[in-house]
């Protein structure tokens, strides 16, 4: 299997409501990534898009989005689970030996439409849609399971929310939201019990692109020094059911995690310097840490979803942050000596699907 390397990353500065149209966002992110990688568009032999048609507001948005993503007259493919899955597909295409140099790009304008309505549309129309099931209701059911299993209370959650925002507050690539006080967190109203509005990572607009290349490509461009290697990928999907067994087991997360770590030759979380987690709510942070054995000191130096949360796109934002860490370019949020980092993306009701990608920087 061909080694896959990251040569460059680019992002559009996150906002609550971008005035850019999607084509402009993709073009800017891709141009920045190509510039970072010292690669020209003409060299690309493929592009991988990751986007959500319902949130984009047009079906098969790749018809319009391929060209601004560097894909004019180039092999293009698209995934719609989450942006981290796009990265997995981009990785697979190069690892297969069929491709050598490509872009993975994802965008999401969370501000564009009613995300709850989109999530309601994903509910099956027979059994749960009549109840008004949406992402927040599913997250609340999950939150109840997490709170019960791990014995966390309002005060503990408020402390965690504060820590998450403090981590995010120094990230120059994030939103630098104000850090809420514990009182502000605990006094915020419920969305759906036990989930308070303050427990949710604020949704933002954003776009990220990443240039991936094979060993074979690097041999043709000896002057290029890759940022890091994609050491392992893992993904998994659990049942659509939301009963207590499914909500409490974290099965797809554990399996995706195990797969990614095994591929990277990593035994456990202890062998990673950090993990950038996709946490739509603070309850998710608790659940992933507990299920995967991730220490507080390893969690999302970037601030993760509390730095920016372009919903569909958050997984690849995490990947970008992990790449910057292992290449020593994370700026104020840099972990000294970080060499091996995992990034996470999740999708579906109560994270039915999970993706982990492990990045490994050059030995120091």
């Amino acid at each position: 299997m061909m080694n896959v390397h990251v040569l460059g990353v680019g992002q559009v500065e996150p906002t609550f409501q971008s005035g850019l149209r999607l084509e402009e966002m993709a073009y800017r992110a891709c141009s920045a990534a190509l510039k970072d990688a010292c690669v020209s568009r003409g060299e690309l032999d493929h592009v991988t898009l990751a986007a959500c048609d319902e949130l984009d507001g047009r079906p098969i948005s790749s018809m319009l989005m391929t060209a601004p993503s560097g894909g004019y007259l180039t092999d293009e493919i698209k995934v719609t689970d989450n942006s981290a899955m796009g990265l997995v597909l981009g990785h697979a295409r190069i690892a297969s030996g069929d491709f050598d140099i490509g872009l993975v790009v994802s965008w999401c304008k969370s501000s564009k439409t009613d995300i709850d309505a989109v999530m309601r549309m994903r509910a099956d129309p027979f059994y749960v849609r009549p109840m008004g099931m949406d992402g927040r209701v599913a997250d609340a059911l999950f939150a109840q399971s997490v709170a019960k299993r791990h014995g966390i209370d309002d005060e503990g959650l408020a402390r965690r929310v504060g820590v998450a925002y403090r981590r995010a507050s120094t990230n120059p690539r994030g939103m630098r939201h104000a850090v809420p006080t514990a009182a502000q967190v605990t006094s915020s109203g419920f969305e759906a019990t036990p989930l308070r509005g303050s427990h949710l990572a604020p949704a933002t607009d954003g776009a990220v692109a990443m240039v991936l290349a094979s060993d074979r490509y690097l041999r043709t461009r000896p002057e290029i020094r890759p940022l890091c290697r994609v050491a392992g990928v893992g993904w998994n999907s659990d049942s659509y059911r939301l009963d207590s067994e499914r909500l409490g087991a974290m099965r797809s997360a554990r399996r995706a995690w195990d797969q990614a770590l095994a591929a990277a030759g990593v035994a456990s979380a202890r062998d990673l310097d950090l993990v950038e987690l996709d946490t739509p709510t603070i309850f998710h942070e608790v659940a992933y840490q507990e299920a995967l054995g991730i220490a507080d000191s390893q969690v999302s130096p970037s601030g993760g979803s509390f730095a920016q949360n372009p919903v569909f796109c958050t997984g690849i934002v995490n990947a970008m942050e992990a790449v910057l860490q292992v290449s020593g370019r994370a700026g104020p949020n840099q972990r000294v000596g970080a060499r091996r980092a995992a990034a996470h993306g999740c999708h579906g009701y109560a994270q039915q699907g999970n993706v982990f990608v492990v990045f490994e920087g050059a030995s120091k």
């Binding site: 059994y127 008004g132 099931m133 399971s145 939301l242």
Partner: protein
């Protein structure tokens, strides 16, 4: 004349109507609701009984080959009181639970009626997982999930 302000957005609304086939299983389930019974499917290979009913077993990947009547009492597995941003059939706040009815192996979602919701902290405890509930059917049934709800036992 030059515009005084650059236009930033164009609003649009797309309305689509869908016709969803109930299929070989959901249709029978909905007819059962009209008759005041809750029907589940069972896979003889895995031994699992599914509610909502499925035509296949996600474990064995065989067709579910048996219909069984679910009990009309069960236990709450997951619950929430939806306070905001809710667009179900009823105005918020509403209590919703996934309940595993007696005799089946998976949980089905519906409203819990009769819960005092004025104090959410107390209400949350009232419907916490492990609480027993019973099925109550609507007087007028139309073959929809809203033909029944749960009541605390």
């Amino acid at each position: 004349m030059q515009p005084t302000m650059e236009q930033e957005y164009i609003d649009d609304e797309i309305t689509l109507r869908y016709r969803y086939s109930l299929g070989e299983v959901a249709g029978k389930f909905m007819n059962g609701l009209r008759e005041g019974e809750i029907l589940a499917t069972r896979c003889s290979k895995s031994g699992l009984t599914y509610l909502p009913p499925r035509s296949y077993c996600e474990r064995s990947f065989e067709r579910c080959d048996e219909w069984v009547r679910a009990g009309l009492e069960g236990v709450i597995e997951a619950s929430t009181i939806v306070v905001r941003g809710f667009e179900g059939k009823r105005p918020a706040p509403v209590a919703i639970a996934y309940v595993r009815l007696d005799g089946v192996d998976s949980a089905i979602a519906n409203y819990i009626d009769g819960v005092e919701l004025s104090d959410l902290d107390i209400a949350m405890k009232t419907i916490e997982p492990g609480t027993r509930v019973r099925v109550v059917f609507a007087a007028k049934r139309e073959g929809r999930m809203t033909d029944f709800s749960f009541l605390l036992v």
